[in-house]
Symmetry: C2
Subunit: 254 residues, 2 copies
């Protein structure tokens, strides 16, 4: 948790890939921002060659949107995209919970339950800090995903989906608005895992994520239409990628 900055990857392309991904996911680069190659290259201190390789990889991960001969911009998730992602999470994490019920080690389950107890404590103490709740929620889900012991599934979820979820969170400043309810659901999922009930674990996880999705739908269905507040697809904001390291809405990292 200390050597986050100095990513001593073997190649420059890998390093700039990691740094750019971090900047996108943690919201330092706002969705919709136009990314000029020359400027990015100079900012990260590399040539355009490695930079373009990093861009192509981020493009594969749906974190960047590129139009040939035009340019690259930070992917801007619509509400519809988020709903789609939650359907995928429901299916994938449901399966992860099912597999975890069988494949998790006793130590992993014990550790998960301890983490859950910690969250319940924090829940009692600080009701205001939504940030830690959300972060704790992610931790819980991460552990179950890892517990599936399915490498492909883990990579797809951790390396793909969750980056988008995090990015969306910063984009819309999502706050957990049903913390005790979610915590209760976590508790029941953990119990199912503890009793090695694969069927139950999957059902509970699916309901957990499905409810979160319905919550989002309801919230944005009657609240407002605050879709894509960062930047639309107009071409007038060409020279506005100056949101790089600036003090974003939430700058504190993990």
């Amino acid at each position: 948790m200390e050597s986050i900055i100095s990513d001593d990857s073997r190649t420059l392309a890998d390093r700039v890939f990691t740094r750019l991904q971090d900047d996108i996911v943690r919201g330092a680069l706002l969705p919709g921002t136009k990314l000029g190659e020359a400027e990015l290259a100079s900012r990260y201190g590399v040539s355009r060659g490695p930079l373009r390789e990093a861009i192509r990889r981020l493009e594969s991960r749906k974190l960047l949107e590129r139009i040939p001969h035009v340019g690259t911009r930070v992917a801007s998730l619509s509400l519809g995209d988020l709903i789609e992602i939650y359907h995928i999470r429901e299916a994938l994490e449901g399966m992860a919970a099912r597999l975890a019920a069988t494949h998790m080690t006793d130590a992993e389950i014990r550790s998960l339950i301890e983490l859950l107890a910690l969250h319940e404590q924090q829940q009692d103490l600080r009701e205001d800090v939504a940030y830690f709740q959300r972060e704790g929620d992610l931790d819980f889900h991460y552990r179950i995903i890892q517990g599936s012991h399915n490498g492909t599934l883990i990579d797809m979820l951790i390396g793909g989906i969750y980056h988008m979820v995090r990015m969306y969170r910063y984009q819309f400043s999502t706050v957990a608005n049903r913390p005790q309810r979610a915590l209760q659901e976590h508790r029941r999922i953990a119990e199912a895992l503890e009793s090695r009930d694969a069927e139950m674990a999957e059902i509970l996880m699916r309901r957990h994520i499905s409810r979160a999705r319905q919550n989002i739908e309801a919230q944005h269905g009657l609240g407002d239409a605050a879709v894509t507040p960062a930047a639309s697809l107009s071409s007038t904001d060409r020279l506005s990628p100056e949101t790089k390291q600036g003090p974003g809405p939430v700058e504190q990292s993990k």
Copy 2:
């Protein structure tokens, strides 16, 4: 279905990406093959710049394995990898079927049923041609995936998972060994979709894929241990990428 060869993408990098992906997926480049950049570049008639961008993208899609400063080789799926992928397919395509039951248009469902009838006819006529059966199986699944109308899910399945499934098929020369059974299951899935029964469609699709996985597990569990027949990870076969356009075991393309 005619202009498959001339991919008139806007950039060379995109074109070489498509061509390389095709060569990998259709088995022209065998898993484990070492890919030298210089040779690949000259083969596709491009410089190493665009080629490397294509390689990074294929690497993101798990079709290539790269080691910094060492080289790139065609990804070699183990049996364990395939099992993992089938678990993911079960979850994802189950959800696709669920969504398709709600979101498919009447025309799409009608077309799907016609396709199914065609497959049942072919089934009666030619029992030997396993190739067409497999291809038909994929067609059926493709349509339901598209029917989900979930763009992210479609891209994840069609653009990601299915390339690996196809690649594996060429690698192990998989033959459908339960064609009438599978066709029956397709029929019941189609019926569930026709009656707009989302719950049933998901259950049936999951059972369909789960059975296929169990079939693979049983087949390879008692059959033999023909794992990774192409090339191991030894470093002695450095200069053997000459399996490019050679007559592979199955050369006929769609």
